[in-house]
């Protein structure tokens, strides 16, 4: 592709900084996040919140909608499977100037601290974030017990 670049006429320290940052970004987006997940091309980052009665699990899944997931629960293990198909166009291959966004199938299992009620699990997906609500099993919910503190004489 022949193109007459409209580049700045001189290189500055800032250009160098951008190149270095770009290198870090490419390495970062290229695999570090997804590397631990046994050979998968990527896996969505996950947040887990422990609320008193339930867990909230959120996964960053840009470009995906509810129908793209298979969410299952077994005991205290939540499994999220899905596939993020590439939206890159074959015929545009040489025209791509940047390709940083990750694609591919993923399969993440998250072990929760206590058992959850599988029948009460609900999942929604909006704005590229999957949210799964998992009610804790009755016996696993925290019991609130008031403890009386016996005070001695203050010295």
């Amino acid at each position: 592709m022949v193109r007459h670049p409209f580049k700045p006429q001189s290189l500055s320290l800032r250009d160098l900084q951008e190149e270095i940052n770009g290198l870090f970004d490419r390495v970062w987006h290229g695999g570090i996040r997804t590397a631990p997940f046994d050979g998968q091309e990527w896996a969505p980052p996950v947040d887990v919140l422990d609320e008193a009665e339930r867990f909230i699990v959120r996964a960053e899944v840009p470009g995906l909608v509810a129908a793209d997931f298979d969410v299952s629960v077994s005991g205290n293990v939540l499994t999220i499977k899905g596939n993020k198909p590439s939206d890159r166009r074959e015929e545009q291959q040489e025209q791509y100037l940047r390709t940083e966004r990750p694609f591919g199938a993923f399969n993440r299992s998250i072990t929760l601290p206590v058992a959850v009620d599988a029948d009460g699990v609900q999942a929604t997906c909006t704005k590229g974030v999957l949210e799964v609500s998992l009610p804790k099993q009755e016996g696993a919910r925290p019991k609130s017990v008031r403890v009386e503190v016996q005070g001695g004489q203050s010295v």
């Binding site: 592709m1 007459h4 025209q95 940047r98």
Partner: protein, 132 residues
Amino acid sequence: MGSDSTSPDASPVRVGRADRDVREPVQTPPVDLYETDTGWVLLADVPGVGKDDLEVEVDRGVLTVRAAMNSEQPTGRPVLEEFARADYFRTVVLSDEVDWERISANVRDGVLTVTMPKAEQARPRRIRVEPG
């Protein structure tokens, strides 16, 4: 670096990153950038971002995309935290080949699309003066 015309940065649309002038923590969303017959298309993964959270502006030839992460306070105890808690920020350096006035942006399912049409050929062009 230099004048390698196949390098991505030699194109009329140069993708930058979190600017050094931005002091608060930001995260750099991964982007795809491709050229079509009529312009360039930038795609950025910005999960959690809706239309109202998004700011796209062009100033002196630099397109800046900024999107606020959902900042609502967590309602429970964090067990696992892999999300980056920072706004998305990315800059794109545009040349005169881009029609700045007609840039449009859209966000859907956490993916931002910025369409940057090519400027009319009639538009005045800067002539590069070769050294020597």
